[in-house]
Amino acid sequence: MYYRRTLTEAQINQQLLGTVLTTPLWWIVLVSLLGIVVAGAVGAVGWMINQGLGVTGLRQPVFWGFFITNFIFWVGISHAGVMISAILRLSQAEWRRPMVRAAETMTVFALMASLAMPLVHAGRPWRIFYWVFPYDWARGIWPDVRSPLVWDPIAITTYLTSSMLFVYTALIPDLAIIRDRSTGWRRSVYGALSLGWHGNPRQWKIQGFAGILLSALILPVFVSVHSIVSWDFSVSLVPSWHVTIFAPYFVIGAVHSGVSAVVTLMIIMRKLYKLENFIWEEHIDALARLLMVVALAWMFLFWLDLVFALWLREEQEITVWMLRMFEPPWSWLFFLFFMFSFVIPVPLWMFRRVRRSFTWMLWTSLLVNFGMFLERFLIIVPALMRKGPQTFTYATYRPSPVEFTIIFGTIALVCFLLLIFSKFFPLIPLWEEKEGQLLIDHVKVGNVYVPALVKEH
């Protein structure tokens, strides 16, 4: 139980700064391997820009494919950060402490990966500024604010900026600790970054306030981001996209995949960085409970989506769903999606043994994200394949090796950046851990000690 592990501040410093102050061999190997994959993907992007989008599997009418899938996938993952940090912070969930930093950082990197996707997806990415910024002052033509594709960059860059602020604000006390433990140029860099932090009460108060304020401000952004992404679809006329439920459905789905990704990340981190003293079964258990609630809500919305999609009995809507659910290979993907992101993990999580097993949780959380990638894919592609009643133009889509390379590249990129990050900053906030140690207590109820939280009265 909680009281098993009480660490001194010195122990906390020592164990959490280990990654920053030393460079193990596995880190170098891993970073190099991931770097190669990323370089491969960058090459693929270059090749694609050089040759044209013909190198993808896209074709009329499947104008959107893997890139947009991947875009939504990463935006989804990015929802973990805020879910864990902001919501759990606001609701004062104690168990958030070891995961906030990693989750927020993952959010930032996932957002970067997702932002890259619409860019490489565009026919003329070098004209991105025409898209995001007003580009022709002489004629006064501005981007068309009616287009969700204009809302997207605004929402995502806002989210990215605020997430980075979020990470940075929470990093300051830890930066000061590193500053105090390093010498030479590192000392000056960390010194500059830590903005003269000395941990006096005024600084703590401002830092705490900033955390709460940012949490509250970021929440609407958090909801808006995936809602806007969902409106890319629902404002269209494409059958099965043009549905009102997409915004909450996407957001909750994003939380599902994002929190699962946090689980995966925590378990891997724990193993790689030997963080057994900080990441406990209880944490994973709490995440799994959260996931169960999220997954149930998500399934409710999915069910509503399906029922109301079919109930108008519109030919085209039914055609799309039939393709999605009953025609191979889509039916296979649908089956996998459904099994992986719901049917297998959720019942398993009902068992305390599973929730508290790092192995089980690693695999189930990975399953969820694999399933959620398929979910996005199945939302996009079959709908475009059966977009309208013109059966004459029905077509299919098979992603090309270039697209696969780029998708794997984004996965490698996020891992790569996380590893690099961990080299310079602790993945678990030291001050959060210390604060947690302070606030924890136990109440004796009958014969057992129940962990308790100090109520700020």
Binding site: S234, F300, L310, W311, V443, A452, L453
Partner: protein, 461 residues
Amino acid sequence: MAHEEHAIPQVPTHQEIASDIMARFQNVNQRYWSWVSLLALLFVGGIVGFVMRLSDGFDDRSNWGYYTATLSFLASTFLAMPIISAGLRLAKANWRRPLTRLTENMAITGVLIWFMLIPALIALPPTEGRLSVWFDFPHWMAFRGGNLMVWGTVVLIGLFLLWLLAVPDLAAVRDHMPASPRGKLARVLSVGWTGNTRQWRVLHSGALLFGAFYLLLYPTLQTLLQADFQAGLLPGMKDAIAPATALINALQGAVGLTLVVMYVMRRFGGYERYFGIDQFWALSKPLLAFSLLWFYFWWGSFITFWYGRQPGESELIRFMVLDSYRYPLMVSFMLNFIGPLVALVWNPVRRSIWGPTIVGAGVLVGALVNHIRWYVAPFSVPDPPAGEAWPHVLPEIPAGQLPGAADALIVVGGIAGAVLLFMLINKIIPVVSMWEVGEGLRLVKVRRFLARYAMVIAKSH
């Protein structure tokens, strides 16, 4: 932490609490009876209104719009109340303890609501040729039977929870006032409760299990309500988010109602000790969240329709948003979204008794208006000529419908009836749970924290 109190906080004992609650429970005064009589009068008025409607028959469905709106308002506020206690219990929120019973007692209104459902179902056209979640289920009774069953199950689970969670307190009533009729009734209802470990275990797991059931079934009820009574009657209404919006609206209404009831109990019942700032403050947060979600869901559906610009969608926007039901929408927009947002973003407002209460009352009015918009509008859409399928586009946009005298009687009477039932049950089962509050006291300890004292509240798992 900003608290300036340096004294050691006092934790009351279980005994203190129990006797205080019991005393209030036993006291049935004049004011109580006058309220009950007034409500009974209004309820009878409602029945008169209902009989007036009955005499017009069911051929013209538009007569039944306000009736259905009342029904759905009750189902969406009173029936959603047990969700608050079940949800908070699942989330192990300790501040819930004083207010769970209040919400559970509301489940008694389910009896009235279920009976009210029957005429509303009769007013619905058969499913043939019309959009319906029952699809082509062969028998025309499908959605009627189905609805009665789902609603009935929800009501029964609510009543069961009400009873189950009241058993220890009923036992206390039994032991306290064995001679009175209420005590005798309590004897029957407390089914030999002695408070042994096994009984407690059954009670706890039963509460969790059936609470979870309620949580799962209630959205189904809202889905049916939206599908059968709203979307199914509106040509072109393809709005998957509607049940979720209705659910949010219901939860919002339930929180609003809880706040208002807590306020009334404080003001007129002397329950200040139980319904304190903690409860108001804590409830104002979900209230704000539900208000934001209310707008978010509404907007999600509006923007989709607006962009779709398909004939069916444009006509519906005109009908429900821009034209016929413009004013009801504006009212509920103000009361269910703008008002709560503007008021509750401020911590001082949230951390007050009056703030959340006023917002909660506004939310209740907004929810009523919203339900009128939601259900009166579709009921005023005429059936297509016999034998023809329902169109996918509104053939014409019906005008907004104002309530007649009978409608007004029904709305007021319906609500009065529900409140009446609540007032009556409060005198059978104490409105504050003695055992749950008492249990909470055991989880609290006072500890020195830094330079002060702090309460430490345990969270078991």
